[in-house]
Symmetry: C2
Subunit: 479 residues, 2 copies
């Protein structure tokens, strides 16, 4: 017998290094505005500084942390900076980081109820809380035929919705016999790329994904949707899935869910709603209009890891009829059988998602909701929406800029009136300068700046500064 190895970090050492790590993160948040928001690394920089081979002997924790500062930090784009206005936010609030730390420390597997009952039951409870918090239909609650689950991302939630729709339409036939090339799915030209990815993965074929055009506000045109469904039916195909977007990635456009939902009922298609970013707005009763028609949906998802201050990964996915999802994804090998599962009295979330293993992700959501309170979460949403309105007023009053889409919630899409080249120059100059970060999209083929306000640390002064920088940079480029 070999001696017990002594490389394990003892609780005492964990305490010491843990304090140091907490201090490091707190220091980071204190000095975060001193970094260029967008990393200024060039391809290969970071790797070039790393040793070619792994160390033979263990190294002191202090040496690792010194390398974090020296080697890693130059390659970080600071998503937690209050000057980050790109993409959608990926918030890591204090309570969330600590809830996630607890999840790592406990290190439980939530694949089955039995492998840690609290992991499953807190998750179910949090999803039910979310239904109340956002005013979602009660048929998404675990006490009905539906229910919620925490997935890693809206991409995977959408994939699960596509698979459920596929199996519902074929009486679980694709699972059994494979695809027949006849299933058809629908979404708008503004939908997230994950819809196309899910359609590929599920074996529909992108040829069978109908990309429905949008109206002047970038929302799906239900008249074209219906015409297309009818044509596909006439061609002997099997329409089965529609993804409507509440808050598109490019411009936060909202598809007309009531009309789309009516069509889905009429033609018996699965309606999935992707509200990945915008869903959080429904915390505020006065903004719940974004969810009009949601009671017609078969599934719905939004990401607390975007605008609800819960760090990645945390997507809440709800279904109206959990039995379809479970029957689609269920597997039960002998080594996972146990009394609780057999009794049917519990939820085993392994059957609600693609992977088998799962973290205790409900902890961080619980920590966030309890730390901020419903009131606190609402106040941030209202604050960000108010700041966005202010920012859009400024843009609207500067004759050099024009809106490319109506400002929505916490996003403003605008461009320089001189066109794509000038607009991109402004963005590149601002991002290279490092004091702020914003990203772009194309709308109606035109290069468009996206300015999104959703970081928990962003205050009015940061938005004011950003607007001043945008103005200054634009002026400089004009000279």
């Amino acid at each position: 017998m070999s001696d017990t190895p002594n490389f394990h970090m003892t609780p005492k050492e964990f305490r010491r290094h843990g304090y140091a790590m907490i201090d490091w993160i707190a220091d980071y948040y204190e000095r975060i505005e001193s970094y260029p928001v967008l990393s200024q690394a060039t391809p290969g920089d970071i790797r070039a500084s790393l040793p070619e081979n792994p160390p033979e002997e263990g190294e002191p924790f202090e040496a690792i942390m010194a390398d974090v500062d020296r080697l890693i930090m130059p390659g970080i784009t600071h998503w937690q900076s209050p000057d980050f206005f790109g993409f959608f936010p990926a918030n890591a609030s204090g309570p969330s980081v600590l809830g996630d730390l607890l999840s790592s420390g406990l290190g439980v597997q939530g694949m089955l109820w039995a492998t840690s009952p609290a992991c499953t039951e807190l998750e179910t409870h949090m999803c039910d809380w979310i239904v109340d918090l956002l005013g979602l239909p009660t048929h998404f609650k675990s006490t009905s035929d539906g229910g919620g689950v925490i997935q890693d991302s809206a991409s995977n939630a959408t994939l699960c919705a596509v698979l459920s729709a596929r199996e519902q339409a074929t009486n679980y036939g694709v699972n059994r016999d494979g695809g027949n090339g006849k299933l058809v799915a629908y979404t708008s030209s503004q939908a997230h790329s994950s819809i196309e990815k899910a359609i590929k993965i599920a074996g529909f074929g992108t040829r069978q994904l109908r990309v429905i055009p949008v109206d002047d506000h970038f929302a799906m045109r239900p008249d074209v949707l219906e015409k297309q469904i009818r044509e596909d039916l006439a061609a002997g195909l099997t329409p089965c899935f529609v993804c409507a977007t509440v808050g598109t990635t490019s411009s936060l456009a909202i598809d007309p869910v009531p009309e789309i939902g009516r069509l889905c009922r009429q033609y018996q298609l699965w309606l999935h709603i992707d509200a990945a970013h915008a869903g959080t707005a429904a915390l505020c009763p006065e903004l719940r209009g974004i969810h009009d028609g949601i009671d017609l949906a078969d599934s719905y998802c939004f990401d607390p890891h975007k605008w609800m201050f819960t760090n990645f990964d945390c997507d809440c996915f709800f279904v109206r009829d959990r039995s379809i999802l479970i029957n689609t994804l269920s597997i039960l090998p002998e080594y996972l059988k146990n009394e609780a599962t057999t009794s049917g009295a519990v939820i085993d979330y392994r059957d609600w998602q693609v992977p088998l293993g799962r973290r205790f992700r409900a902890l961080k959501l619980w920590f966030v909701i309890r730390h901020f309170g419903t009131e606190g979460l609402r106040k941030y949403v209202r604050y960000h929406v108010a700041l966005t309105r202010k920012f859009s007023d400024w843009v609207g009053s500067d004759g050099r800029f024009e809106f490319v889409a109506p400002p929505m919630l916490n996003l403003v899409c605008f461009r320089h009136i001189d066109g794509d080249k000038r607009t991109q120059e402004i963005m590149d100059r601002l991002n290279a300068d490092g004091h702020m970060y914003l990203t772009h999209t194309k709308l109606n083929g035109r290069f468009t700046l996206r300015f999104c306000i959703g970081q928990v640390r962003t205050e009015e002064k940061h938005v004011v500064q950003a607007w001043e920088r945008i103005q200054e940079t634009t002026s400089k480029l004009e000279n």
Copy 2:
């Protein structure tokens, strides 16, 4: 304009609560053996203790932590206990927990190189290190045509392998046109349930998954595999994917990869190797025989989150030809375009996985490898294998027990000679007692105990105690 909300946890507060959380986790590890390993909660217990509605006002951090102790802990099954011998381990070592904490604190998105270059480059570097650490073929390195990526789980790695195989076999035709019901996949009757799940998701149909029988040691029979491939070809079908297992979930059986690989070459099938748990053993040169034939594989995965002390989620997935994987999963909407991506000089890992978003998971792997060193990691593997040999000697010398499969690496599969009922009684009694935890499987239809030694905190005394309890419990049941 509304006032700036003040619910955000300040760096100062984060420091205070962070210390408390670190202390909580350190305390937990110190007292972990005082908990019953398997949670004694009954269905609904945890939820019944939680308030029905989310709080309107924010709550003090201390109140949340008090509820962790009071409400959550009774519902935890202690995967980090040194007395946990169930399933495969899900290790959360100190350096890993702290590396993951850093990832949460930084809160970067790694979907594109540009969204945090260090996240991509450290991941590529760690995957290359792993190739050296495990002695994997160099064509899995990023400097060749292949490369590695960190996925959440072997389930998703396998799904990516299935999808790549599907597209390779159809010249990207399923992605384009949808499934034709002709693709066939192969794996053994002992393969993990995630293979069947992936085959369903990818739209092959389980009817098209050939479950190849195993030999007396639970390893796939290549003669039957070849016969089946020939039959399928003769029937006009398209064999395209084989999953071989290095270390099956039930008994750590190792499929004959050299023969399977030869067949895959001959018939042009994608060979994926699932070494989720056992792969870690290859840290030790003397155990690398488990990987014989791996140079014939098109893809390979193993989970550092099982036996390599890196907390969930962390699966390393390697492919021989990254272009197939990328072409299978690639999407590039305008809002993700950037100069680095366009230049082709960087890796964008969004195209190597199903979801778009991704955490900075390489940090925890880097922390683990540097903390333990190659030497330290090897010593633990050798220690666990030595303890397992000792345990299997004890089982072998007790006439009341018999092996159901040959003891392998760090797993012993055994049963009471009186049969299933008695064997299950022993397990149920041991797990209800709470001092240790083990799980079961069925092999050749017989109820079998699985005893797996892989927790970083497990020492010889824990294994000795476990064996004493197994003997005592067995004796008591005989009276």
